[in-house]
Symmetry: C4
Subunit: 274 residues, 4 copies
């Protein structure tokens, strides 16, 4: 028979690990459970469906709440460092995934409509449990992290531009044409600069239309900047992948494809690549 310690280790390997067949099967089941439960929560907000299939949604909801509660408890049980797991990003997401269902029981009255809507939505954040299984996203995220300073500067420029254009439009068009305050004008400017263009607020004066034309052309040309930043960064990431052969002398990698000598210690690389 298994001791408690062995059971914990075995469960840890299945639930937290991804290198055993059992661990991979568990991950697959979990992904489908997350997807189905998130879909159920989403469809449950559609009035025509929720009134018709009330009992189905109720059943699915409590089935998955039970399942995720079990998973949460087993994770706590088999985690080697419980405090660390409980306060980790995934630990909090796991907790947030189950608490709203139980809270919904306590607040069953009709007077807590808004809170119940909020709780129902919180359950959708289970989708973040998916991120654990998207190892591929790391490459993209790394590129963005690398370019974070430039992207931050870019957003600051966009915000300064939006403030200036928003103020101009507020003065030119005025509250009568929908530009009722500077924050609303800035909202309009960002809608325009990003080329979204809802059309809920549009310029009506000739001067306003000329200024908004300028804003569009500005947005059109600065839309290129983050593209340039990320493209350059991604190209870098990819080039970094190119030469993974380590130097035979100092075992450091990262040489250019056409290098004949190690750029770290000067040893000849030629023999290795020949």
């Amino acid at each position: 028979m298994m001791t408690k310690q062995q059971l914990r280790q075995e469960l840890y390997r299945i639930i937290f690990g991804t290198d055993t067949p059992a661990g991979q099967r568990f991950d697959m089941v979990l992904i489908y459970a997350i997807l189905i439960s998130v879909f159920a929560v989403m469809l449950g907000t559609v009035d025509s469906l929720s009134s018709k299939f009330f009992s189905v949604f109720f059943l699915v909801e409590w089935l998955f709440t039970g399942l995720f509660t079990l998973e949460y408890m087993v994770r706590i049980f088999c985690s080697p460092n419980r405090r660390k797991y409980l306060f980790s990003f995934y630990g909090i997401v796991d907790l947030v995934s189950i608490v709203p269902s139980y809270l919904g029981l306590l607040l069953a009255g009709a007077q807590y409509l808004l809170i119940i809507r909020l709780l129902r939505v919180l359950r959708v954040f289970r989708v973040l449990k998916m991120v654990r299984h998207m190892s591929e996203a790391n490459v993209l995220i790394r590129s963005i992290v690398q370019a974070r300073r430039k992207i931050f500067v870019f957003f600051t420029i966009v915000l300064v531009l939006s403030t200036l254009f928003g103020c101009l439009m507020y003065v030119v068009e005025g509250p009568g044409n929908g530009f009722s305050s500077i924050p609303k004008s800035i909202y309009w400017t960002i809608v325009t600069l990003t080329t979204v263009g809802y059309g809920d607020i549009t310029p009506h004066t000739v001067l306003g239309q000329i200024i908004s034309t300028l804003a569009m052309l500005t947005g059109y040309s600065i839309i290129a900047i983050p593209t340039g930043i990320i493209t350059a960064e991604l190209a870098n990431e990819m080039q970094r992948d190119k030469s993974v052969y380590p130097c035979p002398n100092c075992v450091k990698a990262g040489h250019d494809m056409d290098a004949t000598h190690c750029k770290w210690c000067g040893a000849d690389l030629g023999n290795m690549r020949g």
Copy 2:
């Protein structure tokens, strides 16, 4: 006189082949026939035209249906492997191009309006017969196929982001402002993130406008990611066109396609490529 076998081979060369003048002429005629018939079907759905030129549309429809039926039969006749052709992508497209017209005859009553609309539209899928003649598209499709994993990850990120933003907007704006359910909020979020911005649903609360501003700026900056992925992939495809033949003297590669001498040691490359 030609035997049946010779006729089949001759027809195969004309209809399936593209390397003889007759085959190329057949392809050109087919492309024009597809374009004209698709245009006719499309214009036939415009009420003012279809009532005025009813007999013209009727004539054109049956002329091309007859032609494509003949083509389908000849293709079956001369195909060396009939089963393979019948169940291939193009075989099914060829069948779908003619069946709806004949089905329309059987369902001539006014009570099958929706089905007739569907059949009418299915005929437009004749346009897929064109793909057979767009060999150039392969380069672009290859780039996309190469980047399919990263594009899939990108779409997953977009969907997770849309779910989170959609839920936030559902809680903040609520059914009163058009965000009547989470799926509808997610629809709105994708309309916003992709900078399409119909304006059929727009945020009305201050908090909703702040969140949608964040969604726009996010969309604005992640619009760069697939651009970066595909650009890098296309550049790779293009660089692959650079010669991989090594110099016979110094065994270094990477010469331009039009180089006649090695750019590293000056040796003659001509013999190798001749």
Copy 3:
């Protein structure tokens, strides 16, 4: 005194040439004349302005018509090959710039409103005379011309996609929701795929919103393709500019920056670049 032949040559150098101070001054005057006359025509279509400053617009119109008529005559007079000039692109643009004003005189009655509107607008095409003076545009145009096959393939793909999505939406949404015919559905699809999103036609059914979400994400990801094509082409154009040093032996240029031997004749390039 100048002979007629000398006068023609002198005028030719001023009007057609750009290498003498007089020629450059003439070009500058012409650019301003075009800009002012185009602005006058454009502002003349604004009702509130045209009724108030009728005489000013009348005066400006005939002043520039006279000027451009004079220019056209002098160009004919001094052109060494008159027939070639008359039927060249610029010769036709020059003619179209003046004819509408004279035709407007003949059709002074109120019954030709549409024709007069057309003539008024034709005069704006004077702006094309500007192109003659934008030598810088060539670099960009060359990149687009280089990539024209790929761009054509791309547009064909966009049109095939639009046809398929448009037909799907026509079946799903139907005439009741604004998708009144297939051509109109295709118009909607292109508005969506290009992320313009007017919002004059929007999906109302759930299935229609799901399909339009797919269309948006497709548009979002294929927006990258022409960017990739043109970026790669522009990078090529720029790289071509990099190594302009000709080989000392065969005087051909276009070597890579890191080449040590001429890729055309094998001669050593090293001494030249130092």
Copy 4:
């Protein structure tokens, strides 16, 4: 005790400099002061807030006006070249940041509503004082400046295209469908070409929809051009960051910034870079 001269130098180092701890602390305080005062001005234009928290906005307004007045005076006092500072970009921005508040006192009557709105907005331009502290923006601005000729040519092409499309739409759709004048049609064309697509003006005739489809596809494909320009320029800027120091042994350059040995001959690069 400090002499006046020493005080000026000390203040200069704190206010204009960024290399001492005191100077950096002063910059941080100033950035927060700018952000808070700009937020206060912006929120002060929201009617519901300004009527409720009138005294708070009044207080914040005069607190920061006092602070910025003090800052302006100290800057004048300690600047080594007063005339140069007063007429510099930042000197004028500093002045514009405080003058409107004082002018607002003089024009307290209700009859100057528009002017007061203008003055209130001018205060938001304090945000430009931020630019002083965004040294990182220089890299991006340098790329844009490098590409300014090509961007200018691009905008000219966009404007010529907009004029032609705008005129076509004016003729085809006419004043009855919202295209009331050529300038308005050009406004519509830019809204379409930049893929903003408000939807305040949309084509209603079949021909108009075909032309607008062409305009969208054109916009869709030329959106790539500035992206290509800026991406190429940014890549250049980044490559420039690669070392230009040649190897002391083989005099070849192009090493990575972190290389310690020449990647061509293996010689030690360390001494050169120190």
